[in-house]
């Protein structure tokens, strides 16, 4: 800001717009992040611009989170901690969502749950937890990030914010993205499973827009439907 002011000092009136246009970006180089330095150094991949992180799966395998689990796929990605599930049952919600996704689950979209309690949530514990919760065998990985630094970079990228995944949280979101397209959003973990299914489906490829148009809504006033929208069917 001050740099810009200095840079443009003496430029007046009408010319200022032109100068400002040319100068924006040429200045302020000095103000680049300190706190974000780690992320600056992190290499980011693909259209979703995600960092890489080594993870350990519940089967004890070591994988690259981005290259092995996300690249080329549509994913739902969330943070959880086993000891927090009684107060914040995010995994139970995901199980419900997975069921409602039907055949598209595991085929068109994969789930990845990252523990925010990497010390306690060992692969064996995650495996037992997944079994207890009725998590399907395919299409869903529980993982822990092995490096604290990579974990911090990943969380910051996903929430686009300085953020430490909190193993005691009562408020969180699920990230959903289509990696090859570069489309990435998040929804609160508290929403209805039916709602989550609609949102997840909306980022999957498919459908046409050039043919006969279908009515999305509103549905008839006396027609049954989902309580949180006016869509048909």
């Amino acid at each position: 800001m001050n740099d810009r002011r200095k840079f443009l000092k003496g430029v007046s009136g009408a010319a200022a717009g032109l100068a400002a246009t040319a100068a924006v970006g040429a200045v302020q180089q000095g103000s680049t992040a300190k706190k974000g330095a780690k992320l600056t150094r992190a290499k980011l991949y693909g259209r979703a611009q995600l960092p890489e992180a080594m993870v350990e799966t519940m089967d004890g395998k070591r994988l690259h989170l981005y290259a092995d689990l996300i690249r080329g796929k549509a994913v739902v990605l969330n943070y959880m901690a086993i000891d927090n599930e009684a107060r914040f049952p995010i995994t139970a919600k995901l199980v419900e969502i997975a069921k409602k996704l039907g055949p598209r689950f595991g085929k068109d979209v994969q789930f990845i749950s990252i523990t925010s309690d990497a010390v306690r949530d060992t692969p064996a514990r995650l495996r037992a937890f997944a079994r207890k919760m009725g998590v399907p065998d395919h299409g869903w990985q529980f993982v822990r990030v092995l490096s604290e630094e990579e974990g911090a970079v990943l969380a910051m990228r996903l929430y686009r914010h300085h953020r430490k995944p909190d193993p005691h949280t009562r408020l969180d979101a699920m990230h959903y993205g289509n990696e090859p397209v570069g489309l990435w959003g998040l929804f609160p973990s508290s929403i209805a499973a039916d709602d989550a299914v609609l949102r997840i489906r909306s980022i999957l490829p498919g459908g046409r827009s050039d043919g006969e148009m279908r009515r999305a809504g509103p549905r008839k006033l006396d027609e049954a439907g989902l309580p949180f929208n006016h869509r048909v069917g």
Binding site: T21, K35, P51, R160, S209, G217, K220, F228
Partner: protein, 581 residues
Amino acid sequence: MVSRRDTLKLGAAAGAALLTKSAAGQMIPQSGLVFPDGYTPSWVDNPSPPVRPFTTPLFRMPNAKPVPRSALNPPPDPARHQRFHEFEPKKFYIQTLQEILWAYHVDPPYNRGSWSYGFDGITPGQTFITNYGEPLFVRRLNRLPPVGMGKVAWALPSFSIHTHNGHQASESDGFPADFADPGEYWDHHYPSFPAGFDPTEVMSTLWYHDHRLDFTATNVYAGFSGFFLAFDDRDSNNENDRNPQAFRLPSGKYDVPLILHDVQFDQDGQVVWDFVGSHPTTSGEAGHGGYGPNPFYTVNGMIGDRFTVNRIIQPYFKVERRKYRLRLLNGGPSRFYSLAFTKDGKTPETVYIISNDGNLLPHPIETKDYFDIWPANRYDIIVDFSKYREGDQIYLTNRLEERDDGAGATGRYLDPTNLLMRFDVVGGRVEDPSRIPDRMIERPKIDLSEVKRERLFVFDYTNGLFTINGRLMDPNRIDAAIEQGTAEIWTLRNDGDAWGHPIHTHFEEFQIIEVNGKPVPPGSMKWGRKDVVQLGPGDEVKFFGRWRDFFGKYVMHCHNVVHEDHAMMIRWDIVEPGTGF
């Protein structure tokens, strides 16, 4: 004037009124520079390609053209709309939402076009010219390429178009979960009557924009916004009106809607969304895989480095020597402005503010100062160019410095300022039948005996997410059930110390009673009907509102649309009397 005092108050209320010395030596408050510094938007390293400002003419959106009722197949279905037959549509429209190539400027690379979302080939979309008593029906077709097929990769090809702040039934309001995907359409019925049939509730400058769950910010930024103007027999769209009640405000080609969006571009002139994914850049030097040139995406907001007006970068507009009605709208996504019309880039010219948030004020306010305009705020302003000489140039000027991360204003004023567009005065004296009326629309009466409930909404931030009363948006949860036909008093409090939140509630206008415990001075700009509250750090605003005419779900949310998507929004419903909570 008002804006300056408000800014001072805002700083004091935050309890963090750090004073900085501006270039002019004037002490002005920091309005909340507390949030961790260190985010740098990618345009700092990869600025948008330069342009020669004021070399591209202003885009004047065409008016939406009605179609015959028979063009709608299937025809409008009354069974899908509340009170359809009472407000039988008189005009019908079809709007096609599609991916378009839009030229933001005549200079290369912009002249080759930027892939955008538009309405029937343009952005902003066609202007709807509507009249009270003349309900309309709009069918919107989603002809966007399905996911993965489009050129705009970072936006979602799905829409829920909301007319802000139309008095329409829930199913036509653009509720965020009421989306239409590619190949689908949605019918919107706009009944065109003032709330409660109260003539003091007549509105004038509305706009429409996307409201899709989780993707409102990207989709509005990509191009889904436009104007929706409402007229009646007083604000009659005719400056020659012989009706003695008519205001005779400048009309026709002298009534000019102006929507501000700040946008970032890559070296090919393609729009960059510096937030979730982004468009590939050809600059390549940053070495981040050739896509987003910088990893600093934040939830604070999205700030572009090119100022556009009606989706043209720094346009010029030739004006005759007479009065104009300029309808200013901050279309976001996140930037706050403090605006004035200046000749020297600094000193405000005298203008007349006639409306706030789309509502004509009781009387015009003459001002020679800057005025604050946050996302979704609107002001109709009469500028009298007859006092200038041929060849004079007047600039729409912004002096508010925005935090680079988009969280809000820094509290500093820019020197030099940003010049957003230029008005070029041309020609000799001309006839000007238009007027600046002495009186316009009185405020609706506030009757506290109608108040059924008082509510408190606290806006805050928790670990990367934006909350209201500690919760995130769930369209399946009713956060307030308001009994139809009652009034309520709502207190909005910003418990955050770093963000300014422009808070918007749908469907009904409200009247602010108190800002930080102090009553709104009669005759000031906030002394009128509004639909966006400027909730600065630590601010508390109390308003009175009525809820009438329809049932069903609506929303209140932050209109920094990045905050809205993360998920600073509530659902409130209008319910049968006796069933509220």
